[in-house]
Amino acid sequence: MTRIVVLDYGSGNLRSAERALERVGADVTVTSDFDAAMEADGLVVPGVGAFATCMKGLEEVRGPRIIGRRLAGGRPVLGICVGMQVLFDRGVEFGEDTQGCGEWPGTVERIKADVLPHMGWNTVTTPPGSTLFAGLDADTRFYFVHSFGVRRWELEDSPALRPPLVTWTHHGEDVVAAVENGALAATQFHPEKSGDAGATVLQNWLRDVVG
């Protein structure tokens, strides 16, 4: 059975992530233990609330180091919601500029929309070749809840690297909904709260990314 660690650094409802992964067949441990997080077949980094708070909590359990080391060894990591946001260079919330894990260039900032948080079920636009969204209809909806997001994808294509696959959603403007980049994947929406559609995304990740 595939061993998954959900990284516990004091952020939000971890029970849902744990249960949703178990539902699709993973052997799940919720822990902040460094070695366990390093050794798992797949690591899930959840996160809700403020970017700065999550980053602080993550640093307290040496999260950025765990993520960096795992990726250096090609070991899968999945970020969810603020767990996706902290993978970018920086977050700007209410004038506070916080450094992120810097796995991708880009800034997490307030979305321009009439109603915030962006809360509820929205559709996504997925590029060809996506693994996470394989088998899902184009009008499938996922559960989002966030006021901040990545509004511009800043990583320039390099002929030497396979470009990450970026999935977008629209709320007032286009916002990054998911990124698939080899061993590193992330979703802005909550797959663990997105019913059967979310279960398919988690199952795809378990089967085709974690393997």
Binding site: G12, N13, R23, V48, A50, M119, G120, W121, N122, T123
Partner: protein
């Protein structure tokens, strides 16, 4: 395409049992909130709300167990309200598996509570529940014409309801659950004017509640500015099914899941 309007069934839970539920064919036990939650999920509910109406605080732990068991089986967002008084109450519910917690009376007594809760847990999981009604004749008038009530709508809190919603947003809540105590139980439709007034002063999502009686009642609430619609009894009693409400909304060109 954009974010879909949410249809949210609310379950009134007393000492761990659903109040006034009826037996749907697919239910073994209409009094079990977990089982009701599963049925609503299967019918296409976009979120679930549990309202803990338990009078005695000694039975509060029962609600946590209900939340825990629901979160283990239902993979859509869950909001829990009723009797939430302190940040630690919020923490306990989130740890049990709730995604959002709604706060009502305790915030009227001490508004800063909303700020403390949203700072500690994030705006996205704090919902301000506003039980409001038109100011009755002979009572202290309010600028909007609507006042906040307590004790299930029986007592005036002496606060303007629209201003209270605005203040809630200012204090950091991520959503307003707007319950019309006048419309509640009438099945005569939502209080459209109240929804419009609140929509005009907040930019967090507004959930309209109170008054739903037929499928045609939901689209006007959305047009007035509701981002989500909530109902309890029409779903409990099987008067309306969630899928029927969604079909009606779709027919009125409202985006639904």
């Amino acid at each position: 395409m954009g974010v879909a309007v949410r249809v949210i069934p609310c379950l009134d839970v007393d000492a761990g049992r659903v109040v006034k539920g009826v037996n749907f064919r697919e239910l073994r036990d209409a009094g079990d909130p977990v089982e009701m939650a599963r049925v609503y999920d299967a019918e296409g509910a976009d979120e679930l709300t549990f309202l803990d109406v338990t009078a005695s605080s000694s039975e509060r732990g029962t609600m946590m167990d209900v939340v825990r068991r629901t979160a283990e089986q239902v993979f859509i967002p869950l909001t829990v309200g009723g009797g939430i008084r302190t940040p630690d109450d919020v923490d306990a519910m989130l740890r049990a598996g709730a995604d959002k917690v709604s706060v009502n009376t305790a915030a009227i007594a001490r508004p800063e509570l909303l700020h403390e809760m949203s700072r500690r847990f994030g705006s996205q999981c704090i919902v301000l529940s506003v039980d409001a009604r038109r100011v009755p004749d002979g009572e202290k008038p309010q600028p909007s014409g609507y006042e906040v009530t307590t004790h299930g709508g029986r007592r005036s809190a002496g606060v303007d309801a629209v201003e209270w919603a605005r203040r809630g947003q200012e204090l950091g809540v991520g959503e307003i659950l707007l319950n019309s105590m006048d419309a509640d139980g009438t099945r005569a439709g939502f209080d459209i004017e109240m929804i419009s007034q609140v929509r005009a002063v907040v930019d967090v999502p507004v959930i309209a509640s109170g008054g739903a009686g037929e499928v045609g009642h939901f689209a006007p609430a959305v047009r007035a500015g509701a981002d989500a619609v909530l109902a309890a009894s029409v779903f409990h009693f099987g008067t309306l099914r969630i899928s029927e409400v969604k079909d009606a909304l779709r027919g009125a060109e409202v985006e639904v899941r």
